[in-house]
Symmetry: C2
Subunit: 125 residues, 2 copies
DNA sequence: TTTTTTAATGCAATAGGGTTGCAGTTGCAA
DNA sequence: TTGCAACTGCAACCCTATTGCATTAAAAAA
């Protein structure tokens, strides 16, 4: 995995933003022309492979990425994500890990728990 | 809400299929040329409004629809959905309602719990 | 330092899900 | 039977995301 300008800049953005970001969110935060839009998609996917970010599929189908807190060898993200309908942000609610128990013989590989509604900030306004 | 040929046919499909279906899944099951692809999108949305179907956003961002079991006045679908990576189906696991508790001031309007992995059928083969 | 290797990037084209505007059709109530 | 509004078809469009291929540039090797 090489250290490139695009990778550094995108990782920095992911790590300093406390909401999950889509490719276009990242693009909006990058200096104009720093890299191609396709590169953003590819870097984000690479960050997931490196366990530096995790993927969340939002209610509207758009894929968002957020930084990993403690994923050294394996991703573990069964915490909840909240999508605010008003400000349209997706945030990790790390504190909340829903508990559930599947019937026998289901092999779980990935969890995407998404709750949408109104976040405290928007509710206050 | 009017009773149309398209609505009847699509509702019948949704009600007799025990996996969640996307617009293109429904189209594949409809007699060729019964209606336009746009109509399928619109009918599915209408069925959701009528509380006859509910929406699930799959991991890959595709929206699927499944019939409602007991939604007379209000949708309530905090049951789990399972997406099999192998046969790429999404099924309602009605029996499993994950429990979770959000911090104060979050107003929940919608729940989309999706777990992906391998389903029992595919695991057996 | 220079060379070499190959991962990473840019670009243009493409795919696929979903939506919109509008004219025409049809269910259904009056 | 008539009239209205809900529904549909069609074409165009938007958006997210992916792919193939030529080029560039990290970083290891010489």
């Amino acid at each position: 995995m090489r250290n490139t300008v695009a990778r550094d800049a995108i990782l920095e953005i992911i790590n300093t933003t406390d909401e999950a970001l889509s490719q276009s969110d990242v693009q909006a935060k990058l200096p104009e022309g720093l890299c191609n839009r396709v590169t953003i998609y590819r870097v984000l996917d690479r960050l997931v492979d490196e366990h530096l970010a995790h993927k969340i599929t939002n209610i509207d189908g758009v894929i968002k990425y957020a930084n990993c807190q403690s994923c050294t060898t394996k991703h573990k993200h069964n915490h909840l994500h909240f999508n605010c309908e008003r400000c349209n942000t997706v945030t990790c609610i790390e504190a909340v890990e829903p508990s559930f128990k599947l019937p026998a013989n289901y092999e779980v590989k990935n969890v995407n728990f998404l709750v949408s509604g109104i976040c405290p900030e928007c509710k206050g306004n």
